[in-house]
């Protein structure tokens, strides 16, 4: 099927994310203007105006009413999804890299960058139902000594926080005490993405070391490894099929004029999850893919790239018909 191209950003995409119902797609980029789109036809619903710098991350609440954005303008902001109005703002000393609602949407975390003498820090804040009571005080602050955190998210039941770091380590923190529970270094380079399985048993990471890996959430044991020839910027788990999608490509600055898109390999690559075998590729972007997301129903996916485009691809019927014989053979 023809992809839907979303033109709306003037700079490279940093994150795309569906709401829980899958009817809306939220996108943020380095152009300071988060957008929301109808996922089924790519029509833009609106934008969230106010940031003064690149927006690095976003999260949307379970009920699709509130949106959190993390920006390089030293703010983390809460928006009304429908109104497009800024509801609240946390001012920080450095750029905000990551943001995530906790389960229940009554808490959130954001991560500030290690620059200007500030350490990389995880801030846990309460989110009030009634904005009158909303405070800019933090509930908890976890200072990360060592390589800075590049990705962060909540573990199941808000008991833990998982961070991925610049040097390829993954750390589990106790969300209540702020203590480090476990840390492993299974990647050789920056971890650029971390996405959870729906039941929080495992998650997938993408790394500049050209691989994506699936980790068991409890033990941080590497369950699967997917190797490519280019840095991987994003990795997503299909909610309905045993497949994963990887996006990445040669760093824009390293791509030569002659080689172009061919050499850069700006493709979304699909792998069979248990077999670790490649099953397909989707081309189209002419810059590295920075972010990928499966629609919650698993029938489409969105990709955002360095070229400033977001593409929504609906799978053809034969994608759903495709099956390894072995999947039905049980010994």
């Amino acid at each position: 099927m023809r992809p839907i191209l979303l033109h709306g950003h003037t700079r490279s995409l940093t994150k795309v994310k569906y709401n829980r119902d899958g009817d809306l797609l939220f996108t943020v980029s380095k152009d300071a203007k988060p957008n929301v789109w109808f996922a089924h036809n790519g029509e833009r619903l609106g934008s969230y105006d106010g940031h003064n710098g690149a927006v690095w991350d976003l999260d949307v609440s379970y009920d699709s009413k509130r949106l959190l954005t993390a920006s390089a303008d030293n703010t983390c902001r809460l928006w009304g999804v429908e109104s497009g109005k800024e509801l609240f703002r946390w001012n920080t000393r450095t750029a905000v890299r990551q943001v995530a609602f906790a389960q229940g949407d009554r808490m959130a975390l954001y991560v500030t960058d290690a620059t200007m003498g500030q350490p990389s820090t995880i801030w846990v804040v309460a989110i009030e139902e009634d904005l009158e009571n909303q405070s800019d005080e933090f509930e908890r602050k976890i200072i990360i000594n060592g390589p800075k955190a590049t990705v962060a998210s909540w573990g199941d039941l808000n008991k833990t926080i998982y961070t991925g770091h610049e040097d390829g380590t993954i750390t589990i923190w106790d969300a209540e005490t702020g203590e480090k529970i476990k840390s492993v270094k299974s990647h050789d380079s920056v971890i650029s993405d971390m996405q959870w399985a729906p039941d929080y048993g495992y998650f997938i990471t993408a790394s500049k070391d050209h691989t994506a890996k699936i980790f068991d959430a409890k033990t941080l044991r590497v369950m699967k490894t997917y190797t490519t020839q280019r840095p991987v910027n994003s990795a997503a788990l299909s909610p309905i099929r045993p497949h994963i999608a990887l996006g990445g490509g040669q760093e824009a600055m390293e791509v030569t004029q002659i080689g172009g898109a061919k050499q850069g390999k700006f493709e979304t690559r699909f792998f069979h999850l248990p077999f670790e075998e490649e099953i397909g590729r989707v081309k189209g972007h002419f810059g590295p893919i920075n972010t990928l997301a499966f629609a919650p129903d698993g029938r489409s996916f969105a990709s955002g790239a360095e070229d400033g485009f977001v593409r929504i691809h609906y799978f053809d019927d034969d994608y759903f018909e495709f099956n390894y014989e072995e999947e039905s053979l049980t010994a």
Binding site: L157, Y202, Q263, P274, E326
Partner: protein, 701 residues
């Protein structure tokens, strides 16, 4: 042959990690050990001098000084006297200024006849001690127990007659069995096996690895060490065609026993003996234009390893193996000789000399050891010649570049027919718009390919040598619209635009060839059948650096080496028709080399028989292949089933954990977030689509 710079480049990336591969060179080092200076190395001892009294001492010393006067200044001279008899003791010490002078004094003075009774014995002072300490008693050498060596050609006995290749990836060197499109089988693998690159001997018997201390050769079923040649920092090697000898080269000179600085050594492979070393100063090695690239191989072997020849200014020096002495004790004097080449099947040397004064440029053929000149051909206005021998030595093609006007040049071919009486020469003009890049002879055939530039366009031509009798016949039926008739005896088969090509690689069995654009080009490969003159297939291996045939001419590998390109290294395996069999991305891939095969032992008659009965054989092979594929498929299937079951089991466990915490979760949310959503009211989406049905324009007054 790779250039020297890149090999140095290769060498740079290795860490000094010698302990992993402990090659013991100590015994060789012992054999070629250079003694540390003792302080007496400039002193020689002259024995068997007349015993004289004090009165004759000065006369004798003067006579001796006279003998050695040409060598250099004598620093001191001392004649010990026997105090009991008042006579001299019959020997004299002479100290020279330099070691070289002392060496020369030994050469010159030893055996000098002063008179009938006194024949001098001159030795280095340091040696005297060595000789006197030698035990005079004969000690029978201990018998070395016979150790059976491994069969060096064992790989040829593979039941499926598969070929091998060696692959270098990072610091790891591995030898694989080729399995067509299936995964190759690993035969042997070692880390840090070579400090630079690896190389096969021409018949595939030995694998050569490079080390700081020298070269090591490996082979046999267990890849044990066969021999090693101590040559510090060796950079280049060259095997003789029959794997009897090996030439090694290092940029850094080593010190010989005679105290000279040498860079090149020739060795006997089986015994490991160093046959001869050569100084070769760096300026000569660097080539006439002062380029850093040295002309390698510097010593060219005759087809049967009997002679090895080298170009020197104004002469060709031919050495005879194994003694490595000059053939007939003198070099072949050829004034201003520019280049030479051996016939690949006979003891015939070809060489050319440029114009000088009234003498025209000349291409000559000389038979050895008789030094009889078989044929010369005079040429005029020559700028440059290049010599291309056909592999079986039937033809020698010389490309002659001439000045047409001040700027333009033209090229023509002079083709020597070695198999015919008096060696007739066909002359063929090449279209003057073409600038010839290279010539490629078909191995075991009479065709050749030409790659040329026409402006910026790349042109490829295929030619066929016509047997001597044929041209006349061809001339008779001129009516046909043949593309030939370029010259008598050479027929142009096809000429076409070969965009993106900079190399032609013939199949080792002839008939098929590849047109490839490698290194500076994009990596396009065309697969040609020159018999039918059709392109059978084409492919692309982006940024590909090397393209090679397997020794049987059935497979082709194209590869991207990390030495030249640092992204997407790896290789692609193709069939000879251009069908892609397998693509492998190998990080830090450096080198893939097919193991050469020795020539077949079947007679021509037997080969014909095989060809005739090919159908029967191929049936059997097809069955074997099918069985192999089936086995592989089953293996893959079993692996997948195992993975699938393991994953399903893991998923269930994880999901059970999640379900178990359902209450806690509901507490956090205030509801069950995983409840099925059908309780929610049905949402209907309305979409407005506007469509212009008709558009009319009216002007309203």
């Amino acid at each position: 042959m790779p250039s020297v710079q890149e090999q140095e480049h290769r060498g740079d990336h290795h860490e000094e990690d010698d302990e992993l591969l402990d090659i013991d060179f100590s015994d060789i080092e012992e054999r070629y050990r250079v003694d540390m200076p003792t302080g007496y190395e400039t002193v020689v001892v002259v024995d068997n001098t007349p015993k004289v009294g004090e009165e004759k001492k000065d006369r004798l010393l003067n006579a001796i000084k006279k003998i050695f006067k040409d060598i250099g200044d004598i620093k001191t001279i001392h004649m010990p006297m026997d105090s009991a008899t008042g006579q001299s003791k019959g020997y004299i010490f002479i100290e020279f200024e330099t070691v070289e002078q002392a060496t020369q004094a030994v050469k010159l003075g030893n055996g000098h006849k002063l008179d009938r009774a006194h024949v001098f014995a001159v030795n280095r002072f340091d040696d005297i001690e060595k000789y006197t300490s030698t035990n005079d008693e004969y000690v029978e050498p201990a018998e070395v127990p016979f150790v059976e060596k491994e069969h060096l050609k064992s790989w040829l006995a593979d039941p499926r007659a598969r070929d091998q290749w060696v692959m270098m990836k990072g610091d790891e060197v591995s030898i694989y069995w080729n399995n067509k499109s299936e995964q190759p089988d690993l035969d042997h693998s070692r880390s840090n096996w070579s400090d630079m690159y690896v190389s096969w001997s021409p018949k595939g018997t030995y694998l050569a690895t490079f080390h700081k201390q020298g070269i090591a050769l490996w082979g046999g079923p267990t890849w044990s060490k066969i021999n090693r040649f101590a040559h510090p920092n060796v950079k280049l090697i060259d095997f003789s065609p029959n794997e009897k000898y090996i030439t090694t080269w290092s940029h850094e000179p080593f010190l010989t026993a005679d105290g000279e600085h040498h860079r090149l050594a020739i060795w006997d492979i089986v015994t490991g003996r160093q046959l001869r070393t050569f100084a070769i100063d760096a300026a000569v090695a660097a080539g006439p234009e002062g380029k850093q690239k040295i002309d390698w191989p510097m010593f060219k072997w005759s087809y049967d390893d009997k002679y090895v020849a080298r170009l020197a200014p104004g002469m060709i020096s031919v050495y005879e193996t194994p003694g490595m002495g000059l053939l007939d004790k003198k070099s072949i004097k050829v004034d201003d000789v520019q280049a030479f080449a051996w016939s690949p099947s006979e003891h015939i040397l070809s060489y050319w000399t440029p114009e000088s004064g009234n003498i025209p440029a000349r291409v000559s053929l000389m038979r050895l050891p008789s030094r009889e000149v078989l044929r010369t051909k005079n040429l005029f206005n020559v700028i440059d010649c290049k010599l291309f021998w056909q592999q079986s030595g039937d033809y020698l093609l010389v490309t002659v570049k001439r000045a047409k006007s001040k700027k333009a040049t033209t090229t023509n071919f002079e083709i020597f027919r070695l198999r015919e009486k008096d060696v007739p020469v066909d002359v063929m003009e090449v279209d003057s718009v073409l600038e010839v890049t290279n010539i490629y002879w078909e191995p075991l055939g009479s065709r050749f390919a030409l790659l040329a530039m026409e402006g910026t366009k790349i042109v490829c031509n295929f030619y066929q040598m016509v047997p001597a009798a044929a041209p006349a016949a061809a001339k008779g039926k001129k009516a046909g619209p043949s593309v030939g008739d370029v010259a008598l005896g050479v027929k142009l088969l096809k000429s076409f635009d070969a965009k993106g090509t900079n190399q032609i690689i013939w199949s080792p069995k002839g008939r098929f060839c590849l047109l490839a654009g490698v290194r500076a080009f994009q990596g396009e490969i065309q697969f040609w059948d020159v018999e039918e003159l059709v392109m059978m297939g084409s492919g692309e291996h982006y940024m590909c650096t090397d393209v090679d045939w397997d020794p049987t001419g059935r497979y082709v590998t194209s590869s991207v080496s990390w030495w030249r390109v640092q992204t997407d290294t790896g290789f692609i395996m193709w069939t000879f028709t251009g069908q892609q069999l397998a693509k492998q991305a190998v990080p830090a891939f450096k080198q893939l080399l097919w193991r050469p095969r020795p020539p077949t032992l079947l007679s021509e008659e037997e080969q014909k028989q095989v060809k005739k009965n090919l159908k029967e054989y191929s049936k059997q092979f097809d069955e074997e292949d099918a069985a192999q594929t089936k086995a592989v498929t089953r293996e893959v299937l079993e692996r997948r089933i195992k993975l699938w079951n393991e994953w399903a089991e893991y998923r269930n466990r994880v999901h059970a954990d999640y379900e178990a915490a359902a209450d806690v979760r509901a507490n956090i949310w205030g509801f069950d977030p995983d409840a099925k959503q059908d309780s929610l009211p049905e949402e209907s989406l309305e979409e407005w689509v506007e469509e212009v049905v008709e558009e009319t324009e009216e002007i309203v007054e």
